[in-house]
């Protein structure tokens, strides 16, 4: 019997999946136990975004969060992080907004040619399947994103990851790591 699993029954059932579906596309999926309009609200309302986008275990915290959720509207998330003296800003604009079902935005903090993110919310029997799709401008751009995460920021990333694991106390992820040894 694992107390950690007991306290989070939903995370065992609603597993987050990530797949590189093509040379330039990365897809994240997860099902939420609630109607699409509420899940959509949580993705668009600044007060709500701030409560989940950066879990405490990431070691970062929001300094500000602005969203102008309409086609052509801008968003800007600013964080502080222990690894950086300057705040980190993530920004772009919404290319498409369909309340309750679809969001498309640009990622412009890295300059031109950033990935385009499409999030769809599909409600089935009171549950909502969320599919997040990042399409990069080229295979090289996605490779570079992966390489920078895997090598450039590696030590830091894995230290954070370790902190994340400790905080989550997730037995499943520990099993995964053991398999990688």
């Amino acid at each position: 019997m694992d107390a950690g699993t007991d306290s989070k029954p939903s995370s065992a059932k609603n597993r987050t999946a990530v797949q590189r579906t093509s040379e330039r596309e990365l897809v994240v999926t997860r099902t939420f136990n609630g109607p699409g309009r509420l899940v959509f609200e949580a993705w668009t309302h600044p007060d709500l975004i701030q409560r989940w986008w950066v879990p405490k275990s990431f070691g970062a915290s929001f300094l500000s969060c602005e969203t102008d959720v309409r086609t052509g509207g801008a968003y800007r998330f600013v964080f502080s992080h222990a690894s950086s003296e300057k705040p980190l800003a993530f920004f772009g604009k919404y290319l498409e907004v369909v309340p309750g079902s679809r969001l498309v935005w640009t990622n412009e903090e890295g300059g031109e040619g950033g990935a385009i993110t499409t999030v769809t919310f599909e409600e089935i029997d009171g549950e909502t399947l969320v599919v997040t799709r990042d399409v990069y401008s080229s295979k090289e751009a996605l490779d570079a994103a992966i390489a920078s995460g895997a090598t450039g920021g590696s030590c830091e990333t894995y230290e954070q990851l370790d902190a994340l694991l400790i905080n989550l106390g997730a037995s499943a992820t520990r099993r995964t790591l053991r398999g990688e040894e």
Binding site: N14, T16, V28, R30, P35, V39, P55, I146, G149, Y158
Partner: protein
């Protein structure tokens, strides 16, 4: 666990800290090459290039195969392994995020039920 990652990443970092070695990886990304080719390309002695390739090999970034007198270098298994590791760490980031989002959605549902009851009264 961390130490295990740390040791492997230290090797990678050491391997990637050198401009020539980064150049070699880039070159091998385009096509396999012999140590002689690489030495010429980077204006270096054969011995010098062998050392660089050795460092990259120990970090699993490059593998070499000797056929006859020619040692051919190619990108190592590390590339794929890194992608798989990166995807897993990326997944954990989203999983942690979504665990928090679950709580927010639960609360919104609760709030809506309470509001609904209040409106009916």
């Amino acid at each position: 666990m961390v130490q295990c990652y740390q040791a492997r990443f230290d090797l990678s970092f050491a391997a990637l800290s050198d401009a020539t070695r980064r150049g070699v990886l880039e070159e091998l990304g385009r096509a396999d090459a012999s140590i002689t080719d690489l030495a010429e390309k980077f204006h270096m002695t054969l011995t010098g290039m062998k050392k660089h390739v050795g460092v990259l090999e120990r970090a699993w970034l490059v593998t070499t195969v000797k056929v006859g007198r020619v040692r051919t270098c190619k990108l190592g298994p590390r590339r794929l392994e890194e992608e798989a590791a990166w995807i897993e760490s990326y997944r954990r980031v989203w999983d942690a995020r979504f665990d928090e989002l679950d709580k927010v959605v639960e609360e919104l549902k609760r709030k809506e039920r309470i509001d609904g009851r209040r409106n009916r009264q």
